[in-house]
Amino acid sequence: MSSESSMFSHRWLPVLLLAPLMLLIVLFFYVPVFQAFYWSFFLEQPFGGGSEFVGLQNFQRVLSDPEFWGATGRTVIFMLTASSLAVVVPLMLAIAADRKIGMSYPARNILVWPKGIAGASIGVVFAFIFNPFVGLMAPLNSLFPGLWNPGIDGTDAFITLVAAHVWSGIPFNFVILLAGLRSIPPTMYQAAAMDGAGPWRRIFDVQLPLIMPQLFLTFVLEFTESITSVFALIDTITGGGPGGSTTLLVYKIYVDGFRGFDLSGASTQTAILMVFVLILAACQFFFLGRRINYER
C-alpha cells in the first residue's frame, strides 16, 4: 500500500485544499450544533433579551412530555416502515433490472431520474396524487365515501407520507444496489445454475450475500436519512396534521422553535435527536457492520 500523502509533496497543501470545506462544515454544522446543546441548558428569550441557566430542567420537561414521546414513537415507526420499504422496493427493482428481461435497459435509466426532484416538489405532487377528490383514490372514495381522506384521517396521512418517502428514495438506493449486482461475476450465477439452483435460490444464496455491503450502506443511510429528510415532505403534504398524526420529531422541533418561539425546547429536542441518531448509527455499525464481509 502506498503512502496516503504521496499525492501531495507539500505538507500544508492538503490542509489548505480542505480548509474551505471545513470552514463551511464548522460554520453551518458544528457551530449550530454547539449552540443547540448550549441553549438546551438555558431558558432563552426569543429576541435575546436574556437567558437563564436552568440546568437539566429543559430535558426533564421534554422527557416527561407525552407529545415528545408521541413524536418519537411516530419517528421510529416511520423509520422502520419507510426506510425498510425504501430499501426493499429498490432492491426488487434492481434485481429485476439486472436480469436480462425486456425493458430492463431503459428502466435502469428511467428509475434514476426522480433523484433530480427536490423533496418539497415530491411533496406537492404526492399531495395531489393522494387528494381524496381528484387523486388516485378518488374512484375508491366515490364507491365508499370517506374511505380515504388524509386531511382528516391520521393513518391515511401517514401512509401518504411513507409512500412519498419510499418513492423519493428509489433512485439513489436503486443505483447503489444495481451497481452491486452488476459487479457480481456472471460465472457465479452460471456455476450456481449448473448446480441446479433456481432463480430464487440464486437471489438468496448468491446475489443477496454478495451485495451485503451495498445493502448495509443503503440501510444505514436510509435509517438516518428518514429521520431528518422527511421534513420537506411533511411540510408540503400534511403540515404535521391532522391532529399531529404526522408530526415526527424533526417537524415538531421546527414547529416548536420557529412557530412557537420556544428556542430552548427546540434545542433540547435537537440535542436528544442528535444523540439518538448517533446511537442508532453506532448500533448499526456494531451489530451489523461487523458481520459484513467486504472482500469478494
Binding site: 431558558l43 432563552e44 428569550q45 426569543p46 429576541f47 435575546g48 433579551g49 437563564e52 436552568v54 420537561r61 407529545e67 387528494n131 377528490f133 381528484v134 381522506n149 388524509p150 386531511g151 382528516i152 384521517d153 391520521g154 404535521g240 396534521g241 391532522p242 391532529g243 399531529g244 408530526t247 414547529v255 416548536d256 420557529f258 412557530r259 412557537g260 418561539f261 420556544d262 430552548s264 425546547g265
Partner: protein
Amino acid sequence: MNRFTLAAVAAVMAGAGSAQAANIEFWYGNTGNVEVAIKAQCDAFNASQSEHKVNCVGQGSYEVSMQKAIAAYRAKNHPILIQFFDAGTLDLMLSGAVEPVQDLMPEVKWDSYIAGARAYYETSKGKLFAQPYNSSTLLFYTNKTELEKAGISETPTDWEGIIEAARKLKAAGHACPFVTDGDTWRILEQFSARHGLPIATKHNGYDGLDAEYVINSTFAAKHLANLVEWRKEGLVRLAADTKAGNYTAAFNAGECAMMEQSSGSYAAASKAFDGKYELTVSMAPMYKGYERHNTFVGGASIYIMKGHKQPEIEAAKAFLDFLRKPEQQMSFTAATGYVPVTTDVLDVIAKSDEANSPKYATAKVGVESMNQPATADTRGIRLGFYVQFREVFMEETQKAFAGQQTMQAALDNTKKRGDQLLRRFEQTYKGKQLP
C-alpha cells in the same frame, strides 16, 4: 445635469439641513391581493415625497416574517418596521426589541383608534404598542343565491338559525352547508369574545403572567362539541372535507353556502362571486340567550424595532403617518376588505357618497361588531407563547373532529398543554412586568 438630478441634489441638501434622508425596510407577511395593496401603498409613499424611501419586503407569512425578524434582531440586522399578527402581541411586548409607537410619536392623535383596536395593542397604562394596520374581525358570509335555492329567504343571524338553514340545505341536496377550517381565531377566540366568555383567567392575561386557560369549562366547550356533532350530521364541513381542500376557496367557488371568515377575505369572495352568486356579510352568529359583546380586532399591526438611528426613525414615522392618512386607509380597505379602525376615516367614509358601496361593506359591519359592549374579558388576548397555543388547540381539536377523542377531552388536553406554555413563558420572562 438633468432636471431630476438637480432636484435630487436639492432634496438631499435640503434634507441634510433638517431631517436626514433614510432608506428603511418594512417586513410584512401577507400574500395575494393584500400583498398587492401593501406594495401599492409603499410605492405611493415613495412617490409622494423624495426625502425617505421605504423598501417593503414580503416574507410569505406572519410566522416566517417573525422567525426572520428574531434571527435578524440577534444579528443586529433587523428592519425598523415589522408587521406582526395579533397572536404575537405579548411575545413582542416583553421582547425588549420594540419601541411603543406612542412613545416615539406622542404627537399623534391615538385616541382616534376605536376602543376595540386600542385595547388589543395597548399597555395597562393605555399606551399603544403598535400601530394597527390591516385590521380585521370575524364576519359571517353567506351565499344568498344558494340559500334561496334551498328556500331560505332570511339570512340566519344566530347558530340556531344557521343549523336550521343547514338542515334545509342538506335536505335540498347541498353537500356543504357550512364550512370552517377549525382555526383557533375563528372558532375559539372570536366566539368567546362575542359571547363575553374568558379564554384564560386574569382577564385573558391582562392582569398578570400567572393566568390559566379556562376554555374547557366555558360555553365555548359546548359550542365546539356542537361543531363535532353537526359535522357528523353533514351540516358542518371542515376544509379537508371539501373538494377545494381550502375552506375559503370552497366558499368562493360556491361549493359551500356559509362560512365564518375574516373581513380581510371579502374582496376575494366578492370578486369570485361576481355575476354568479349574491354575497352577504353580517356580524358573526350568536347563540340565543347570550348578549352580544365585541369581537376582537384581528389581522396585524406594525411595530417599530429598536436599535436604529434617528434618520431611520424619522423615515419610519413618516411612513406610519402616511399609512394613517384617511385616503390611504380607504383605498386599502377598498382593495382588501380589511377594516379601517380610526374614527376619522370612518367619518369620511360615512359622509362620502360611496358610504353604501360594497367595497366598504366590511368596514361598516366590522366596526359595528368591534364596537359592541366590551367586558374585561373582551379586550384582547395577552398570553405568552400564544402562537404555539394556537397550534396545540388545532392539533387537539382535529383529533376530536376525526373521532379519536371527545371534544371535552381535546379541550382538557389543550388547557393542560396551554398552561404548561404559560408557566414556561412566565419563567422565561421572570422578573418582567406586563407593560
